[in-house]
């Protein structure tokens, strides 16, 4: 048996579980809010075309519309100004092998429960590595905060001075990208950066550093509490949109049974 048939057997036997890390595309799901002068992220919308009726007797279907960055979504390097000249930086150009691979999960849920502006720092990464080993090259790293369990206004957590939600410091992202060579970084919040990420140097460090180095982002993930710290496999192929800067997508993880 080769590796793939072994895996297929494990899947059919239930030895490998499939975990859905995706929020439902829902018209009322929060999107990132920018100052009103800027262009805004389109919400998910669905218009009925027909429903087995005079508009189409035997079939039901909808027209849907949204932003590339609505709901659980993928960020390609060209999404950010730092990645505008990265080779193969649009979703249709990214090699398909980037969309499946190993994933490390750094659990920040306790800290995020205490502090809305909780930061993922190099120290936290060092602690995680002390327990789980060095983060291997070319892996996905996900920051678990349990933020996906928040509902309504608590999710964006918008105040007079902007949103407050956890995220990585510039140093943490630099460590992950430049020293560990990760493939991408994912969060449960509305962006890969902290709610107050505009006040770091550089502003929005996760976007700036990840995409400037040709790495990918995933956000609005859910179910990270079902993943082990290491040993799971992430599957996250975005839609193949010509020159697309990102895409809503279904994110799945393959997890050895009982590993979480």
């Amino acid at each position: 048996m080769n590796a793939l048939t072994q895996m297929a057997t494990a899947l059919t036997r239930g030895e490998i579980e499939v975990v859905d890390l995706t929020h439902t595309l829902d018209p009322d799901f929060p999107v990132i809010i920018l100052p009103p002068e800027f262009g805004q992220c389109a919400r998910f919308r669905m218009e009925e075309v027909s429903a087995y009726d005079h508009r189409g007797p035997a079939w039901k279907w909808h027209n849907i519309s949204m932003s590339e960055h609505t709901g659980t979504h993928f960020d390609a390097p060209v999404h950010w100004v730092s990645g505008r000249n990265v080779a193969n930086g649009a979703v249709d150009e990214i090699p398909a092998e980037a969309f499946i691979g190993p994933v490390c999960v750094i659990d920040c849920s306790e800290g995020a429960a205490q502090d809305d502006d909780f930061e993922l720092t190099p120290e936290i990464i060092a602690e995680w590595e002390a327990t789980n080993g060095r983060i291997p090259e070319n892996t996905w790293v996900l920051m678990r905060t349990d933020w996906s369990k928040r509902r309504g206004a608590d999710y964006l957590n918008m105040r007079e001075d902007g949103p407050h939600s956890p995220g990585p410091t510039p140093e943490a992202i630099r460590l992950l990208v430049e020293e560990r060579g990760i493939r991408g970084f994912g969060t449960e919040t509305v962006g890969t950066d902290a709610g107050q990420g505009m006040h770091y140097a550089p502003p929005y460090p996760a976007h700036y550093i990840l995409h400037g180095n040709g790495r990918y982002g995933l956000q609005c993930l859910t179910g990270l509490d079902q993943l082990p710290a290491t040993g799971a496999m992430l599957i996250c192929p975005p839609l193949k949109i010509r020159n697309g800067t990102g895409s809503p997508l279904r994110v799945l993880a393959l997890v050895p049974k009982g590993a979480s």
């Binding site: 929060p30 009103p36 262009g39």
Partner: protein, 416 residues
């Protein structure tokens, strides 16, 4: 005095819905001038250009000199009620249902004697004032009211039937996020509205108006996002059967004309809210309102759209937004015709620049929320189709009447 209108009882769920029937609606082309005047709440009659004789009923040639040029002009509405009678039965279904119905003859100081509807407080032989109003069929009619205000005057059944008074009615304001929403809700409650439903979208995004709305007795905040069909349909499913007055105050706007923008993103948002939002609302709430046009004291009575006066003539500083307003105005005309069989009026409140963030670099006069709220309530009481709110709207409308093309150039800044 008029007996104060009692709060309507809860509906008997075993009774069949009263079907809307309309008063006679056929008019000559000449008589449509009366309807046009009533739509603006103005008392106008035909005046002969040659001899000045005031005409009634509307006609094609002067009753005095056979002159053919009869101009609709604002006319002194004061006269004497010289005769009155009460109709107790009628072969017409509408008046049969409304009976008893008082009517009478008023001799106007301006000349003609006019047979018209008569308010219960008018005393035969005394001075009265004529109002031009739209009846349930949407046609211009005249009603005599006492010259001086009497207690509970608006509760007179004939006068109420010719308007859409918010008293005892249930109102839906579609967008609680608009800066003017609290003032509007308060004005309607002060006017006696039984309930004010206020729609709010995206509750995951806080907004300052919410705390004011929450504190008001009689306000019910309901989820509603005009850009989301499922949300509109859901709310109509819940409260569509008890919305007597719908006030669409939703507005998405950004400054800029065609060339300033360079893309269609904001234009799309403007159309999604201002035009398609109106259409979604109309498709969800319209049929229910149309069916409830004769549903007792709190029947469905009016649909109100709050639009920019630039719906009639584009100011290129807000060119894209104004195009969406023109689209909404045109759609409202269609809706007006489609709701007419139900006896539901469609009213537009035309506003000049509002005193908010998006008109911050526009010099005054600008409209405060209270002014718009007062216009809405007054327009409903009068049952008109067009309300010009504030001096800018009145001025633009007047200039538009004089010459639309000149106004276009003036708004573009071509006239010094």
């Amino acid at each position: 005095m008029t007996d104060p209108l009692a709060r309507p009882p809860k509906k008997n769920p075993q009774k069949v819905q009263t079907v809307p029937v309309l008063p006679p609606s056929f008019r000559s082309r000449a008589a449509m001038g009366l309807t046009a005047a009533a739509a603006e709440g103005r008392f106008k009659l035909q005046h002969c250009a040659e001899c000045g004789t005031v005409q009634y009923p509307p006609r094609d040639a002067c009753v005095s000199c056979l002159g053919l040029e009869l101009l609709w002009k604002d006319t002194d509405p004061v006269g004497e009620l010289i005769a009155d009678t009460i109709v107790h039965t009628s072969p017409n279904l509408y008046f049969r249902r409304q009976a008893p119905w008082r009517c009478g003859t008023v001799r106007l100081s301006a000349g003609p004697s006019i047979f018209c509807h008569v308010h219960g407080d008018c005393v035969k032989g005394s001075e009265v004032r004529l109002l031009s109003r739209l009846d349930r069929a949407g046609q211009g009619v005249l009603i005599a009211i006492p010259k001086e205000t009497t207690p509970n005057m608006a509760d007179d059944p004939e006068l109420r039937e010719l308007g859409a008074d918010p008293k005892h009615r249930r109102v839906l304001i579609t967008d609680g996020r608009q800066p003017g929403a609290p003032a509007l809700a308060k004005a309607l409650l002060d006017a006696g509205a039984m309930t004010v439903f206020v729609g709010e979208g995206e509750t995951w995004r806080p907004y300052p108006e919410r705390s004011a709305l929450e504190k008001m007795d009689g306000v019910n905040l309901m989820p509603l996002d005009l850009t989301d069909t499922s949300s509109v349909v859901e709310l109509a499913g819940e409260i569509g059967g008890k919305v007597d007055i719908l006030i669409n105050n939703a507005r998405f706007m950004r400054p800029g004309g065609v060339l300033a923008r360079g893309d269609t993103a904001f234009a799309r948002d403007e159309m999604e809210v201002n035009y398609l939002g109106l259409m979604r609302l109309a498709q969800a709430f319209g049929p229910g309102m149309k069916a409830r046009g004769a549903d007792g004291i709190n029947n469905a009575a009016a649909w109100v759209n709050i639009l920019s006066i630039n719906a009639i003539a584009n100011d290129p500083a807000y060119g894209s937004f104004n195009a969406s307003q023109a689209a909404a105005l045109s759609l409202a005309q269609s809706l007006r015709a489609e709701l007419r069989p139900g006896g539901v009026k469609v009213m537009t409140v035309f506003c000049g620049p509002t005193d908010d963030d998006w008109y911050q670099d526009v010099p005054p006069p600008k409209l405060l929320p209270g002014a718009i709220a007062r216009s809405v309530v007054q327009g409903l009481r009068d049952g008109v189709e067009d309300v010009l709110c504030g001096d800018v709207a009145k001025d633009y409308a007047e200039r538009w009447r004089q010459d639309p093309r000149v106004l276009e150039r003036e708004l573009a800044g071509d006239v010094g």
